[in-house]
Amino acid sequence: MSAAIERFTSDEAAIEPTDTGIKVSGVLSMRSPSESLTPYLKKLHKYLADTRPATFTVDIKDLSFMNSSSIRALVDWIEWIRSEPSNRQYTLAFLHDPRITWQSTTLAVVRSLDEEHVQLRII
């Protein structure tokens, strides 16, 4: 899977492919995620809808901060999955550090949008 997924880098954040998904690190606090992060996630979503892995892991335990605009980009990702026909839907498993308050509170909100397609896993 990792060979097919592109890297994403911004001034302070990086998204790297892993064997089971992606690893997000640094700080996601761009002013306009719709110009860079959202198109990256959209492309990734199309690939995942086509290949349909059982579960796609999104490891954010090394992400030290995420602003609300970037959270909105995550929410959009969930909405894209929901709006696909059932044979193109897949599940995201967010790997996070429960000791980091913003990760727990934010992911609880993201999961509440779609418990069928969002799982939370702690390190």
Partner: protein, 183 residues
Amino acid sequence: MIIDNDVVLLARFPAKWEHINPLRTFISGYAESMIGKEGGSEASMVTNELLENAIKYGDVVSPIDFEVRYDQANACVTLRVANNAQATRITLLQREFKRHLDARDGETFSQAVTRSVQMSSGVSMLGLARVMSRADLELSVTGNRVTMTARVERFRESPSRRRLRASANLMDRFSDRTRGSGG
């Protein structure tokens, strides 16, 4: 020496995005040392969202005033962000505050996210909702001057909330195993 309600930081800087991260990082470290790791995380988030909000919705030629105080008696960090804004932006902020106050027990961040998903266009004010769901926030407007003041206290997780979180984690693990055994 720290005394009650000490002013920790007074800063005035141009309304530019690149100033947010260094200030957030400083507040994160400072608040963590004074009110614990969770408090530091909350103060970091509040600082970021208030500064982003001031830059996005404020007058770009007006500098931002940022004040940080520490109340030792109540183990509380107070963050104050002030700048000038146009009347239309101030009306928007006041409307957002009213929406939160009118909602029963306040609008949660989850509700704000759901609302933002349903919006086809417009300003979602998710950052403000995020702050209001985690900290006491006050809005003060004098003429075209907007001041937002947030209090972040030492985080204490209630036993019922801790049980709920543990239960959610167990359910996720059970769900993973069920899926794994099914195929």
